[in-house]
């Protein structure tokens, strides 16, 4: 590399870094809109209230980020490419019929084998509880969905291709799309009932839409939609990063289309 260019980069990096640290330490916080959020009570979990009610549209955007990321991961691994010769050259036909073809996939000890199945079941339960309690306890769709995906990952790591919990990819694709669509449709319902997109309506035809001690309105449903979506997205990401055979199948499929 060019030493002069290196020096210039180093100097600008040092100046920039020093400035960032110096000015960050000068920050004096103005609470501003926070006070309004704290004084207007929606649900007991104030963060959830912001996430799904005051700024629910941001959360929709965040869902879309995740869904776009998963779509692009599919593209990277050979879905719908205009030209797949580069990938075909890299991913040769599989030697074994198993889905997970990591090299030197050794056997785990018995303790791991016997514990991971019950653990994964209980993790799923815990994830479901976290999703459903999003409006009253610390938690919510993202955390719960991540927990369920974690149980999938645990199961895959412990058992490899014979994983007892197995989401096949058509199911994951559908679940993901349906989760995001459910979010959008709930938003439109709010638009029909209250006049604004993602309006939080608590009753419909005189019935509570989420019966219980806390009138949370649409927030629990949004939590469920997000939970299913996150579960699907994270599982797909793991699926793609670990299962080479899926990629090879995908490339073969796109070969037929391109011909």
């Amino acid at each position: 590399m060019n030493p002069k260019r290196d020096l210039a980069i180093t100097l600008s990096f040092l100046i920039f870094g020093a400035n960032i640290i110096y000015y960050l330490m000068q920050i004096k916080v103005n609470p501003g809109v926070n006070i309004i959020y704290l004084k207007n009570y929606i649900v007991p979990n104030y963060v959830t209230a912001i996430l799904f009610d005051w700024r629910g549209y941001d959360t929709l955007g965040e869902c879309l980020v995740l869904i776009v990321a998963v779509m692009i991961s599919w593209i990277i691994f050979g879905k719908s490419l205009y030209d797949n010769s580069f990938l075909k050259e890299l991913f040769k036909a599989p030697e074994v019929g198993e889905y997970i073809t990591l090299q030197r996939w050794g056997e785990f000890t018995l303790a791991i084998k016997y514990l991971s199945l019950p653990l994964s079941i209980f993790l799923v339960g815990l994830g479901i509880v976290t999703i459903l309690g999003g409006h009253i306890t610390p938690g919510g769709g993202f955390q719960g969905g991540a927990l369920i995906a974690a149980s999938f990952i645990l199961s895959i790591i412990a058992f490899g291709s014979n994983s007892p919990l197995w989401f096949d990819h058509p199911f994951l694709e559908k679940l993901e799309t349906l989760g995001a669509l459910a979010y959008i449709i709930i938003g439109f319902l709010g638009m029909i009932i209250g006049g604004y997109y993602l309006f939080n309506f608590k009753t419909i035809f005189g019935l509570d839409i989420f019966p219980g001690p806390i009138a949370a309105g649409i927030i629990p449903y949004l939590n469920i939609a997000v939970g299913l979506k996150v579960l699907a997205s994270l599982s797909t990401a793991i699926y793609l990063l670990s299962c080479e055979k899926v990629i090879i199948e995908r490339i073969e499929k796109s070969d037929e289309i391109l011909k």
């Binding site: 007991p44 019950p118 079941i121 209980f122 799923v124 339960g125 815990l126 479901i128 509880v129 999703i131 459903l132 309690g133 009253i136 306890t137 369920i148 994983s163 007892p164 919990l165 197995w166 989401f167 199911f171 509570d208 989420f210 019966p211 219980g212 001690p213 806390i214 629990p220 469920i224 299913l228």
Partner: protein, 75 residues
């Protein structure tokens, strides 16, 4: 109404069925799982504002997983 308080449990059961249907093996030791999940549910505690001694949502989600697993014919 007390029935209203079971609404999240019903949802938990449904989601449990959805996930339980995806287990490729037959899940055994039903009562063992239920006993352990009772213990976990006791320690988890019910949601705030819900007058339950234990977390019925957790219990019902585990039940849902087993029911979903039973619904799948081919294993």
């Amino acid at each position: 109404m007390i029935v209203d308080y079971f609404y999240p449990s019903i949802l938990a059961f449904l989601i449990g069925v959805l996930i339980g249907y995806r287990y490729r093996i037959k899940l055994n030791h039903f009562f063992g799982y239920i006993i352990i999940s009772l213990i976990i549910a006791k320690f988890l505690g019910a949601f705030p504002y819900y007058p339950f001694p234990l977390s019925f949502e957790f219990l019902f989600s585990i039940l849902g997983i087993f029911v979903g697993n039973k619904l799948k014919r081919d294993n």
